[in-house]
Symmetry: C2
Amino acid sequence: MATTFPYAIARSAPVPILVRAAGESQFRSLFATRPIERIEPNAAVFWEGDPANHVFEVIEGVLRLYRLLPDGRRTITGFLFPGEILGVAFKDRYLFTAEAVTPVKLQRYPRAHLYASLARMPGLSREMLAMACDELSAAQDQMLLLARKTAQERIASFLIAVARRISPDATPAREIELPMTRLDIADYLGLTIETVSRAFTKLKLEGLISLPSPHRVMLRKPDALQAVSGEDEPDEAPMAAPRRTVRSAVWPS
Amino acid sequence: MATTFPYAIARSAPVPILVRAAGESQFRSLFATRPIERIEPNAAVFWEGDPANHVFEVIEGVLRLYRLLPDGRRTITGFLFPGEILGVAFKDRYLFTAEAVTPVKLQRYPRAHLYASLARMPGLSREMLAMACDELSAAQDQMLLLARKTAQERIASFLIAVARRISPDATPAREIELPMTRLDIADYLGLTIETVSRAFTKLKLEGLISLPSPHRVMLRKPDALQAVSGEDEPDEAPMAAPRRTVRSAVWPS
DNA sequence: CGAGAATTTGAAACCCATCAATGACGGTGG
DNA sequence: CCACCGTCATTGATGGGTTTCAAATTCTCG
């Protein structure tokens, strides 16, 4: 399809948008009376480019959200856990494909109703903006991970993030389940399955984790894992790195 | 700072948020009466973690937005061009640092006023949501680029994206200026300056671009460039790749 | 228990990063 | 005016982390 240059850039065109978000909210109250639907593993909730007619709440199970390049290369932009919300698009088409990793239960709410609710519930749009912001923050974390972290750091970051995400309270879980396959993890972290596997093995040999089964991980030394993740201050920083930028004259004004 | 595990994950904590967006809008009308401020190259508009007290519109020049890992590794999450908007946070702190690449003129608007305006201007929150969605779409494109594209593909994608962005009308510019340094480009694309430079040279040798100067690029074969970017259908796809996922029972309902 | 799928492990190749040196500008001061 | 100098970009040589290709092993589930 030799699309001529100007109008091509296939994916960033008039595509849809977002999103995922969790929380207690006016938002979730919308779903109260909706029937629960079930999806089998590897079935899609919707495809990238589908008309974005509904928003969804995940009741049970895990979803993966992904985009593809035309030749099939895939990046998983995120996983969705119970309690999180999906499809709050503000374009008319979905930005990505959403598929079930495990058996999933979810509720659906029509976007048209959502817009009506926006008028009625004053806090709702604010809430949706906050959700979009959280999403963006996560996306930027992920960009930093993909652009600059080593394989080992990516895996460590991933394990820590999952541990925090699945635990309802403040203390991250010590033992986590990873329902997704190594391929899913690889496509999420910008690696191959072999590299993912080797990174797990290395962390295991170093005693930071153990793997009772491929889909179950015990975090034996969470703070050591945190250190490996690249998010900690490096030990040796005797003198602070000098800022290379100039303080702006703008801020004080 | 050996933060104990639970509360660590420094960056995704209660940090701030967003954003960038362009457009004709109610939004931009807010800035009408504001004085124009000037920033010199490499000076910061604000730092990651600063209280997010203002939103900004870029009048002239280019900004870079970036995040750092504690050890100094950097990822530029985006560049901001004239007409685009910055700092529409919905947390209380900025998510990233914003610095001038070139001499920049911008206008500032207090966020507190913005919230007041939200009540007065009904379309505004909708507009802001749309902006957040565009931003997210761009972020996901970038994730795909960082996770799965080769150096050559990244550079081609970047050039095409800039050509589209700087041209007000629909037809991308044939000749573009890149005010940012090779290091900025490298940190945006998850590469090193050497790899960026070699990719430019290779595209030049292949006749797809020419480089009158390091900061000026002529796109000689835009559609060939598009083909290199990885966003085109690969030539050889005699039979469509089989979908590996199952059509969901959910959608038709 | 058995079969296919998923994961792990191994060996080799490759792309990009790193280290190093040269070249091109742009601004400054003699 | 032009040599000097610092910064940035380019080019070269080498090395390493990850990918690719391949095979063995383990897991899962009917």
